[in-house]
Amino acid sequence: MNEAILEIKDLSFTFPGYPGLDFPELFRDLNLKVEKGEIRVILGKPESGKTTLSRIITALIPRYSGGSLSGQVKLDGVEINGNQPYNLIQKAGTVFQNPDEQIITTRCDAEIAFPMESMGWGKKQIAERIDFGLESTGISHLRYRDPATLSGGEKRKLLLASLFAVNPPLWILDETFEELDPASLRAILKTILSQERTIIIFMTKPPAVLEEHNVKFSILYKGTLFHKEDSPENFKKLMIEEGLLLDPERYHSIQPYKKREPLLKIENLSYSYNTAGAFTLEIEHFKLNKGEIISIVGRNGSGKSTLGKILCGLLKPDSGQIFAYRESGLSPLDTKNLNALTGFIFQNPDYQIFLPTVKEELSYGLNPDEAAVDKIIELFSLPGKEVPPALMSYGARKRLQGAVYYLFEKDLYIVDEADSGLSVEDFASMITRFHQKGSTVLFITHNMELSRVFSERVYIMENGSVVQTADEDSFNLVNGYFAGKIEDQA
């Protein structure tokens, strides 16, 4: 038997409550042993405690959160209880779920260098390790870029590069892979696993590529861990129960490709960011139909989110036009028309939620009647009218965000970064609701299951352009993309 890098024994943890509100115990008698060379994927729905567990292992919790913790956590033979996070960086390195929270410098190479500078490594050694980190994650071309100008996936690659450089014995990745495109993920996994490494990966939706590797799965369920190796059959049931896997009995059909009325189209549109080195978005033709569900896939930094932001009028294109099909013919849309036409589900629900109760939140700016509020609360399984959104779980806040948009009559709903934060069940119910009211739904994803099951059409983007439209004739191409086999042509 290999030597254990991480040993968690009988861990229990409860967050401190507020006056009048106590939190239930988050973990109870949780046990985990990770051996050297093991890749352990810990699955769990949002709010199941994945981030908390990753932060307990790196000694950030309870240091920053308070709360009562009991049990034992041993990292590479050292008891972490009472240890400081900065003393553990040689033993365990971590990538946060939200890269914007973790990135602190203003240049990519400086970001990778920071922990090595803290540890006082030699200049020459740091320089070599920076090169290694950049090469391993395939982002050497971003070396001098300001991280603020990178895409979500690129930021994650940057933080991974920092781990490659320091190479601690244990890597802890919190939802790191969920925004990486399959080809990048395949390449990075190959590099990570080319050397013996011990990694714990927390995720909500395991990508298919993982199954090609020797990976052990666990699920965080009701405060404790169930390991797949203990009972593989129950494990799958548990995943479906937790909404982490699409229930094959409920979602089985591949959406048929239908001929539909057109909603809007883009003609010769271009947009470029003000920063040196950033790409230019150039779209010759792009069309959305009424009532369809379509997905956009493509490499990190290929312009998917930028296109989404242009479609909802948050970014103004440098040139080109977006037209709506109206009865009177084609009519051009400006950013304000687009604001009104489109709902954009921001990844962070708290940007859009701010009122003291669910009811007020749903009534804000619209004043729907009591019955409509009740109906929508039921439709989106919200916890109740008078519940303060700030104290609801992430999944419930996300559903509330969906409900708010549902009330506004929008022709088009865009769900960006559908991969992160939401369980498949929550995702599925949100887009199904939008679809059922007859609106067009566009979602951006790297998850093949979601794209295959829910979308009628798929657009593939590359280097700022739409390169392929896939419908019934060319789903093979999409499959190639998801298998990570479409090579970067840059």
Binding site: D100, E101, Q102, I103, K123, K336, A340, Y351, F354
Partner: protein, 255 residues
């Protein structure tokens, strides 16, 4: 914490040694207070704006635009407190506008605009890393330089959150959401945005502390720096230019 002011570019101001730039920044700031002469401080302001336009860093002008309400405030409120000189407008015995009042308001406006554009010119053209290295070159300890730079970045950070939240609200409200229009309407729309911004910016604080500690801040070792300050072109030439500026400023201030 990801936001910062730096604007990638290749202008001579970008390439100027950050240590000399930092020293010049402090010197020029002080020199705005060394003299009361409007032509002299006006000349300084002209020089700075010339530098801005020659290098095409138009974001500096945006910063002046953002302090415009404050400048208007100064222009209206300063003259009544300096009633001496030739009186232009008085309400009964209260002098509201006089030659001294105008002069004083002009003086304050020039100083304020000058210093604002100076600082923005510096931060738009100097990388945060270079600023840290320069401060450390002046023997300021790393933790202190980090605190200074993070404090400076907190403003663009909040601006970044603010623009995200306004975007989010814009889509939520559709067409009736306007950040312009009447004062009342603006205030009504501003309140929910500010609540979200406040919550987000408070949440960012422990996250930043956690990020710094997972990157080894606090680790007991002599801190290393992975790179040195980039030097473009001749440092002697840059020093000569800097000295020439200092000399001219000192001479015009004294004469």
């Amino acid at each position: 914490m990801i936001a910062n002011l730096y604007l990638q570019g290749n202008t001579p101001v970008h390439k100027f040694d950050p240590r000399i730039k930092l020293a010049l920044l402090l010197f020029m700031t002080v020199s705005f207070f060394l003299t009361d002469s409007i032509p002299v401080t006006g000349g300084f302001l002209f020089f700075i704006l010339l530098l801005v336009s020659l290098n095409g860093i138009k974001q500096v002008l945006r910063s002046i635009h953002s302090i415009l309400p404050l400048l208007i405030f100064v222009a209206i409120l300063t003259p009544p407190f300096h009633p001496s000189g030739k009186v232009f407008y008085a309400f009964h015995s209260l002098v509201l506008l006089s030659s001294d009042g105008i002069r004083e308001a002009l003086r304050l406006i020039i100083r304020f605009t000058g210093i604002t554009s100076l600082f923005f010119l510096f931060f738009l053209t100097t990388e945060v890393d270079d600023l840290i290295l320069s401060l450390m070159w002046f023997k300021i300890p790393f933790t202190a330089t980090l605190v200074i730079t993070i404090a400076l970045r907190y403003i663009p950070h909040i601006t970044h959150i603010y623009s995200n939240v306004t975007d989010a609200h814009k889509l939520r409200r559709g067409t009736d959401f306007e950040m312009s229009g009447g004062f009342r309407n603006r205030m009504k729309n501003l309140f929910p945005v500010l609540v979200s911004v406040l919550i987000q910016s408070i949440r960012a604080i422990p996250a930043l502390a956690m990020a710094l500690e997972t990157k080894g801040l606090g680790f007991n070792a002599q801190r290393q720096s992975f790179r040195d300050i980039n030097i473009f072109g001749s440092i002697i030439l840059q020093l000569v230019i800097a000295f020439a500026i200092v000399l001219v400023v000192v001479l015009v201030t004294l004469l």
